[in-house]
Amino acid sequence: MFRGLLLLAGFALSACAREGAGQELRVSAAMSLKEALVGLEPEFEARHPGVDVVFNFAGSQILAGQIEEGAPVDVFAAADEPQMQRAIASGRVGPARRFARNRLVLITSLEAAGILGVADLGRPGLRLVLAGPSVPVGVYARAALQQLGFADAALANVVSNEENVRGVVGKVSAGEADAGIVYATDVTPAVAGKLRTLPLAVDVSPVYEVAVLKDSSHAALAEAFVAELQGASGQAALAKYGFLPP
């Protein structure tokens, strides 16, 4: 039995060692960038053979927190300035570069046919889901509501603060919530048929920034990734998924 345990331990260790065989580029990116970056991955890997891009998608506020705690990451792409600034304040992140913009939309569940615009969000009993007040899209959404003059009425109807934008999409498409505010890019083909989308005429401009971690062990590769994002092919990919140029 003892020998069996030793063998098992050996296997585990060798599996860990095998990881370092090829090069791994770790990218922490805002949840809303998921489809676009995953779409971009094959091209980048084709251009850099032997490289495996590993993504870590979550709300930007979570990713910034992880970087503060020392997470081993090479590139950080955030959905707003405050979270990028937070990461920079940790001392581990280099200068930030803008690479995309987005738009906000109002989504409603299929059953909530009566919601025609932001004004309706104040209706008593309506179930509104937003991302939390520290999540970029949550910040943008609240700013939008403020701008349109419906903040008090609408915020009274918030039933949950989700930790990332997909949580909002999920709740609305499942019909649990009546409405939510997300990015235009979050209405992917996969969910488009499960909810209704309404434009938001606001002057709120979600801005995406990317930066390289100073202590990255693949600095050159990281820079190459950033260049890809800002370059022609990257921008084309982002545009394909609904993002606006920076």
Binding site: Q61, E111, S160, N161, E176
Partner: protein, 265 residues
Amino acid sequence: MSLRTGRPGQAHAVLGLLGGAALVFFALPLVALVGRVTPAGLWAQLGAPAVQQALRLSLEVSLISLGLCVVFGFPLAFVLARVAFPGRALARGLVSLPMVLPPVVGGIALLAAFGRRGLLGGWLEQVGVVLPFTTAGAVLAVTFVAMPFLVTTLEAALASVDPRLEMAAATLGASRWRVLWTVTLPAVRPSLTAGLALCWARGLGEFGATITFAGNLEGRTQTMPLAVYDALQTDPEAAITLGLVLLAVSLTLLTALRGHIGRRR
């Protein structure tokens, strides 16, 4: 006989070493946590209205849930232990399921049953009962994951009560209810206490099912674990403090009750 070979106490040394390592494994994260917090910081956090709200909500939700677990869990344990009905093995499996299910999956399952488009949810909404995004929903989620701990502990105890005790009580003229109250319950008291402790502790720390089914809103569904997770996204230091508060409450609970359990009659 190999008892004579080898240094005396060698077995004890090995056991002690491994056991000690395990203890350190448990103690280290807690000690590290305590080390990151200052008494002033702790006090400030405890005074914050958001924290007090989360604490109060956690206690409210976990206690109501505990009540439900007892009211429904004890009869269930009784039936499973004493009544041989067809499909009992399956029933036992069902009851144990929430213990092995990832809590988030539990939350999803609850949505499938009680959500707006769920099996019962639509009908419930028509009669004015809405569960997702409400405190009641949080209670439901907590009860779902915590009750099995009480039921399985009780079931084992109820099955092993000496039947002659209950027979003696019956021949002395005690009604079924009196037998239950004066003989059966006292006989399973240690297991009941253990089960309650586990059930409450599990309920207090419940996160996945709550956030999935009930959502995350201060004062309504944001219990302590959710508040900690929330704080983690913006202010890790606050998160640590909150986590410590939750830990302290749970530790006090478990220690106090474990002392009770250990006592043999």
